[in-house]
């Protein structure tokens, strides 16, 4: 990661926080505006999941990583705490790669 990217990330993330603080009272978010911001997180998270699970360099692939994410999903479904979910996903992927 370049330091330029890190600076952009830090500035961008703070921009939203301080922007909201400074415009409170002057700016009122419309109903749809509020909904959009609330829906952005699940939409982008699921996009990230798809890309990081199936993207094998510009095409959809099933790999050891996919199997690991699937077992992580099962662990999530069984209400395992996050560190356990991550451990299950990583261990499954590592095991398949080892075989």
């Amino acid at each position: 990661m370049t330091w330029w990217l890190l600076a952009g990330l830090a500035a961008g993330c703070y921009f939203f926080k301080i922007g909201g603080v400074l415009t409170a009272g002057k700016l009122r978010l419309s109903g749809p505006g509020q909904s959009f911001l609330a829906y952005l997180t699940p939409a982008v998270l699921s996009g990230l999941i798809i890309v990081q699970t199936f993207d094998g360099g510009g095409r959809l692939t099933i790999s050891a990583l996919t199997a690991g994410v699937a077992t992580g999903a099962v662990a999530t479904w069984m209400k395992a705490p996050l560190p356990v979910v991550l451990l299950v996903a990583s261990a499954t992927t590592a095991l398949i790669r080892l075989l």
């Binding site: 961008g12 998270l45 890309v51 996050l82 560190p83």
Partner: protein, 227 residues
Amino acid sequence: MGERLKAFWSRQHRRDGFLLGLAVGTFGVTFGVLSVSAGVSGLQAVMMSLLMFTGASQFAAVGVVSTGGDPMSALGAALLLAARNGAYALSMSQVMPSGRGSRLIAAQLIIDESTAMAEAQDNLGEVREAFWITGLSVFFFWNLGTLIGVLVGGVVGDPFAWGLDAAFPAGFLALLVPHLKDRNKRRAAVIGAVAAVVTVPLLPAGFPVLLAALGAVIATRVKGRNG
């Protein structure tokens, strides 16, 4: 335990805020470990937690960088996930201090956890306390956790052999699940996923994640139509 500490500890919103920070600290450890294994330097990971201080965006940026995405897509994905903090900031204006310097600090503490804990309280005094205690507790433990994770992660070795690349999407999935209870958020997630699936083979790396934001656009329109 001293009397004053006991009195402080006797209020549930204070205890909850503190303990939530402690729990989030374990995610901080995970962030530190994954960052250094993904090729982000330890110093950079620590700086990200201090300066960005919003978990999903941090994981997204590191995740995109680790899979060879370009800086602009890492920035785009991270900022799309950070936008909701702007909405939180609007609703937290009542707890913001009046001094300019303390406002700048308080703004950095506006995240999922501090907003949720503050909004769960009944009167303004408790709202304010819940915001500050949760925000500061999460800030302290998130950064401490990141530091520990960076130190531990440095000795892990080859992250690929440990399957650590699977931890990113599995973690995003765990973050996504609480959203799926709401029908419109579920719709946004499904459309976002479909947009990503369709565009992975068609567009350069990075764009599919940005296009997933279409899910939010369409879910907003559908909600507008259905009322």
